[in-house]
Subunit: 404 residues, 2 copies
């Protein structure tokens, strides 16, 4: 078996943890498996490097920032190779240049293009554990790039695809993917399996253990991911294309406080109004989530939508700038005290009644619904932030997620 | 003009010093020159990385050690590029991969083979200051290597040669090359010029501001080096092939305490004895410096030689192991309390009497000479360590080096 194992920054934060990871990988190796390890930068190192850079230049070039940050993973992988060597196992560390991890030139947020697996195969054939820098790549002009958030997970999945690995294990500090955040919903339960699509919905809803790009890549290349804990030997959660037919209607409940609602009131009821509105935001790379349009009494219409809370002020500024010119609306209001609650499940595609049961649960819990959004495998309601915990527990219970 | 400037670790140890170096380079750039900057790792970073490694593996593989250490210079160069950018000048940092700094695979002590200057030229043509990692290279299999002691100076000279630079400036914390160590000889004076050969002798004698490999490379490719201070704008010392005809007989006095004397007493007086003796040491990469052979009264001979003090114990061990077998000598003695004093000067090639004047100076200063060694441009005497300071001052005065 060829196994790709990815460990995050906290898993390699100090000597003790480095050896813990090394031992875990060696255990797999001694069973006769080929082992590829993907590592992030140690603990807070990336943050420290960013602080050093910002101290020198508050607005550093992204190209140079990536040049700086890629030293972080290189430090991790070389120390890991030394640790394995100390434990008597041959290991070799490789960085993005050495494994030819080709990406686009979008510094700080590059996309993987191609991996040349030849070097890795050669080292594996020599019975070495191969330790590879996550998060980083090189562009066509030999500049370093980084992959942005969730980068090391994406590296691991890409390597698993390129090497046609038998398994891709992402190690985290939780046991796997849960039916809800256990800190909020006490009865939350670890899932044994979840589909790519469900994982994508959960990730985009802020409940994600895995970043969307990593899951998208896994889906595209059919790489089965196992999310499991680096602290114990529990089975973890398998992320794959299809799960058992008998699986539940709903796999999980996600809550997200990182949302704000903007209401554009009194727009002229003419074609092209919505286009203009959202085009202004798109031009500034502001993503809009749930959208609701309602017709006002005086021949005008109102459009409400949610955005990530951190870009809410910027969105308001942009819209205010165009309020009297292209938008021609009466007022624009911002509400930052909202939250999103969603139930996600591949099973609901063929099941009516999921949305109704969700609304009923909110009603029973005395939670007022402000907006609604549904997709094939998701029902989302926008509520007041103060009701979030109650709403999540109500949904979790309504779909019987706590029971095994 | 194309100018290569090299700054050591102390020159980039913190934000303030990084900006100081950046300003200095920008000054040159604004005169219309093309500027290539070579940097070492910041301050104590290399030491810290080594400590981290040894904590994990007391005997880390050299390949992984180089993988770890090369992050040091990469950190320096990216931060420097950010600093220049903050000062409004376009700059780009490049590491050993990016400039294709090809070396042998001798990890921790690799030798440069070839530099592909294309990328550097392209960046210079775009009016960027190009900042390059010193000390590091890549081998034919894309592994990182490091160049060993004096590595960054060597990188600078190699780049100057590859780019056919008009100047190669090595910045240090002293004003240049002195006639003697100013801490020992109060009247020591900075030299305006010195030849490669003199510099090589001085470097090998422990007085070197520049490492031998760097000077050898400069000599081979005719790269004129300027050694100057990063703290002021003084002229520095030019290291080149030939210096003024009227120059002094002797350029400098060097003292070296890092020496030990081993006496192998009572060897059989037969051919091949010296070969066997030094071959044992050569097999363990122990370099021998001054050698003295004398014939004993009973048909045996004694061989004395000096080695670096840190390898003296190892050398003794090796010789003791062979004492009764291949060496067949009576005893082997070690004296760690010796020192070397040398006068160096290209002018002495065509001048008799230099050695005599050196011996006279030692006699006048009441310094007993234990061994003598001479080359075309050097006279070295081995003395008791306790006499070193007196001997250096005596030699400095005898050759009138303090006077301008």
């Amino acid at each position: 078996m060829l196994i790709v194992k990815k460990f995050g920054g906290t898993s390699v934060a100090d000597k003790e943890r480095i050896f813990h990871v090394a031992e875990r990988c060696i255990e797999e190796y001694r069973k006769g498996n080929q082992v590829v390890v993907v590592l992030s930068a140690m603990g807070k190192l990336t943050d420290e490097l960013i602080a050093m850079a910002k101290d020198i230049n508050p607005n550093p070039s992204k190209r140079e920032m990536d040049m700086l940050l890629t030293t972080g993973e290189q430090t991790s992988v070389s120390l890991m190779a030394m640790a394995m060597d100390a434990l008597g196992v041959a290991a070799v560390s490789l960085n993005a240049f050495q494994v030819a991890m080709h990406t686009t030139s979008d510094y700080s947020n590059a996309r993987l293009l191609k991996i040349d697996a030849e070097r890795i195969r050669m080292e594996l054939d020599q019975r070495k554990i191969v330790i590879i820098t996550g998060f980083q790549g090189v562009d066509r002009n030999d500049n370093y790039t980084t992959l942005g958030r969730g980068g090391s997970d994406t590296t691991a999945v890409a390597l698993a695809a390129a090497l046609r690995a038998d398994a891709c294990e992402i190690y985290t500090d939780v046991d796997g993917v849960y039916t809800a955040d256990p800190r909020v919903v006490k009865t939350a339960r670890k899932l044994d399996e979840i589909t790519y699509d469900e994982m994508l919905e959960l990730a985009s809803l802020g409940a994600g253990v895995l970043h969307n790009r990593c899951v998208e890549l896994a889906k595209k290349y059919g790489v089965q991911i196992v999310v499991r804990s680096s602290l114990n030997n529990h089975e973890g959660t398998i992320v794959k294309e299809n799960v058992d037919m008998e699986k539940m209607l709903v796999s999980g409940v996600a809550g997200d406080k990182n949302a704000a609602r903007i209401a554009v009131v009194g727009l002229e009821d003419q074609p092209g109004v919505a286009f203009k509105l959202f085009n202004h935001l798109a031009n500034h790379n502001i993503n809009v989530d749930v959208i609701l349009q309602s017709v006002g009494r005086d021949g005008t219409k109102d459009i409400s939508f949610t955005v990530d809370r951190e870009v809410a002020d910027e969105a308001m500024e942009i819209l205010e700038r165009h309020r009297k010119t292209s938008l021609k609306c009466q007022s624009i209001n911002l509400d930052k005290s909202i939250a999103k609650v969603s139930v996600v499940g591949a099973g609901m595609v063929s099941n009516a009644g999921v949305a109704a049961r969700m609304f009923e649960a909110m009603y029973d819990a005395n939670v007022n619904i402000r907006m609604i959004s549904t997709s094939e495998i998701k029902v989302t309601v926008i509520i007041d932030e103060k009701n979030l915990e109650r709403a999540m527990n109500a949904a979790h219970e309504a779909f019987n997620l706590g029971a095994k």
